[in-house]
């Protein structure tokens, strides 16, 4: 496909921010600059919204200093969007592309973003306007198909691990029940990652609930009682997508309840309602005085200065590879294949078709969840540990032998 015309490129960042989505952005920029087929590099401000409104900045001449600072900055440096373009929206984008001679499209995001790249490419074909449409994976949920894991997950996993290491020590110091609500509506990977920092046998989180397994409120309370009876305390990680035994999310039930009560305004993220509800249930069902709940909220996707080194390198690498693939192929999504494990952890990148990644998501495989549905397996820990990187080591003296 050497007859593809010289043209300009555009980069967009879509959906929820992550800690390394900017590393992918820098990866695309630095690679694009190496290829004379790519002329100007546009940054679309607020993703597809910027593309349709002709709102661009020039990414071609940023200093290396600025690029390196962008690469370590959390969140989406170009701004993001929740728009989900249909064919009509894409046709408008393509009019802008024509005007600006943009033929290389790089979109960093989740499965919806892959779908946008897919639709855009199809609409461009129909318009006989040849473009190269590429998706670079990004999500803290780690729920994209094909790829072994997603850039963004490792850094979020590091955050929740460090949080639970500290929270468990806090709970040792002042004992009680502690509930932590973690992001992930449909996939439990991030909630599961709260277990990565456990080193002592009695370290928390002692219970982990992922959306892949339903749990009744009675079973939930019985599990907590069980741990509390043994340890005198209990730390619990709960996905915001926690379901009951029929697969209905507790958050949804709660929102309905809130509607009935005319208390309104309860949403899944950016609120502590689910955590408070679960804490209330434990207080009500068990006679435990000290019950606390925290919702990690946006901290877990945007905390500054806490990237996982592996994650940030892979994110940048994925960005660079998207450009390389675009020199040879019409479309694609960058994916990772694990070729080593444990200390020999290593990945190779490859291209997959956009349609393989668009729209669909994956859940935690069965082998990652314990039979009781309230914890993770060694297989999960082996999978996730290299992604979060090294975690802080801690010491707790309170269970040393007495004198």
């Amino acid at each position: 496909m050497t007859d593809f015309p010289k043209a300009n490129a555009v980069i967009g960042q879509s959906g929820g921010p992550t800690g390394v989505i900017n590393a992918s952005l820098v990866g695309v920029i630095e690679e694009a600059k190496k290829h004379p087929q790519i002329e100007k590099i546009y940054g679309a401000v607020h993703a597809v919204a910027g593309m349709v409104n002709d709102d661009f900045i020039d990414l071609s001449n940023l200093s290396q200093d600025i690029l390196e600072t962008v690469a370590v900055s959390p969140s989406s440096s170009l701004g993001s969007s929740r728009d989900k373009p249909d064919a009509e929206y894409c046709a408008k984008i393509l009019e802008v592309f024509k005007k600006r001679n943009i033929r290389y499209f790089f979109y960093i995001g989740g499965n919806d973003s892959a779908n946008t790249a897919y639709i855009l490419n199809n609409v461009a074909d129909e318009m006989n306007f040849d473009i190269r449409s590429f998706h670079i994976p990004k999500t803290v949920d780690n729920d994209l198909l094909v790829t072994d894991h997603c850039p963004g997950f490792g850094t979020a996993a590091k955050f929740v691990s460090c949080a639970l290491i500290g929270d468990d020590l806090d709970n040792r110091a002042l004992a009680g029940v502690k509930i932590d609500v973690i992001m992930g509506r449909h996939a439990g990977f991030l909630t599961a990652a709260t277990a990565l920092g456990k080193i002592r046998e009695d370290d928390g989180p002692h219970l982990i609930y992922m959306p892949e397994r339903g749990v009744s409120m009675d079973k939930f309370a019985a599990d907590v009682q069980d741990v509390y009876s043994k340890l005198g305390r209990c730390v619990i990680a709960v996905s915001e997508g926690i379901c009951d035994e029929n697969g209905e999310t507790w958050a949804k039930k709660l929102a309905e309840q809130a509607e009935v009560d005319a208390h309104g305004n309860i949403q899944l993220s950016g609120t502590g309602a689910l955590a408070d509800f679960l804490a209330g249930q434990i207080k009500e069902k068990l006679e435990i005085k000290r019950v606390r709940a925290d919702t990690f909220g946006y901290l877990q996707r945007s905390f500054a200065g806490l990237q996982s080194p592996v994650d940030v390198n892979e994110a940048r690498w994925c960005g660079r590879h998207a450009v390389q693939y675009a020199m040879e192929h019409d479309n694609g999504s960058v994916a990772m294949k694990r070729v080593g494990n444990g200390k020999d952890y290593k990945v190779e990148l490859f291209r997959t078709e956009l349609k393989n990644v668009a729209e669909k998501t994956k859940s935690m495989p069965d082998e990652f969840i314990n039979p009781e549905g309230n914890g993770v397996t060694q297989a999960f820990l082996d999978y996730a540990k290299p992604l979060a990187g090294e975690l802080p080591k801690t010491e707790y003296l309170g269970n040393y032998p007495r004198i």
Copy 2:
């Protein structure tokens, strides 16, 4: 006072954990080992509760490796307690001290802990059992008297700064109103510290509400509307102790409201209720669609692996000095005096009487709060910046010039 008998020492950690309270513990241990007047070093498990129940571990022979790991571990490695001993409780503790020949008492905590040390010393005097009673300051609230600042504050300040740096970038990517509720019931230092990472003129937090200044809900909403009209977004840091114009806390009102509604179980910490309430108010009063709220909860005092280097050094130094003072004096609390500023930041330690620190707390001085009562001054930033240490630098491309 060279006639003070050779004896054993005990160390306890009290109240809410911090990120560097264990550094103070290690400081006490390493210094105590240098003084032959001190024989065994006991660690009281769960503070005064361990002392009264004769529940101790031996801190005399821990390896340097273990000590260094303790020093970087968040939370209270010996366990903590919320007990507030009176004279009777102290008399029981002293019976245990007599039995074990403990005459050096080191207590790491806030103003209540200083008070415990004070009462214990007085009761010991009455019993003619001579002890050396010392308090080492610790609190994320930074609200102790005499000392320039408290160990624990700098690390918590670093956490909330990194959180707000990221949260502001998140809010740029997906614009709306974001409310972050920060610890500190009576003192606004930690909430104020959310401003430390601001570098760009339009960086958030754009509004900061501290317990020292009341704000009516109407003024709060008007402030938010004002920022939102200018920037199209607004990030707000609110102390959990936020008050109305009459000085009544919103959290208290909310708890009363909840009681009336029979929804119960609302407390000040470890719940997202205040944040959700404030978000609901903004939604109701202003026509802004995207309003989110996070409560930072226990993360801000116990997150693993994020100590401020200055803070951790000072915490350890305070521990060491407590032992040195105990060689010469009957009682005291370790305090810091600032002898340099800005880049030349430097402190000297000194001893103050326990009664000067016991019970009372301090608030943010007027010069640290802006006239509108919704932000901080340069004087506060100059005061707090050296304590949190270096913060991550970031770049946001979305406000670069358009092409």
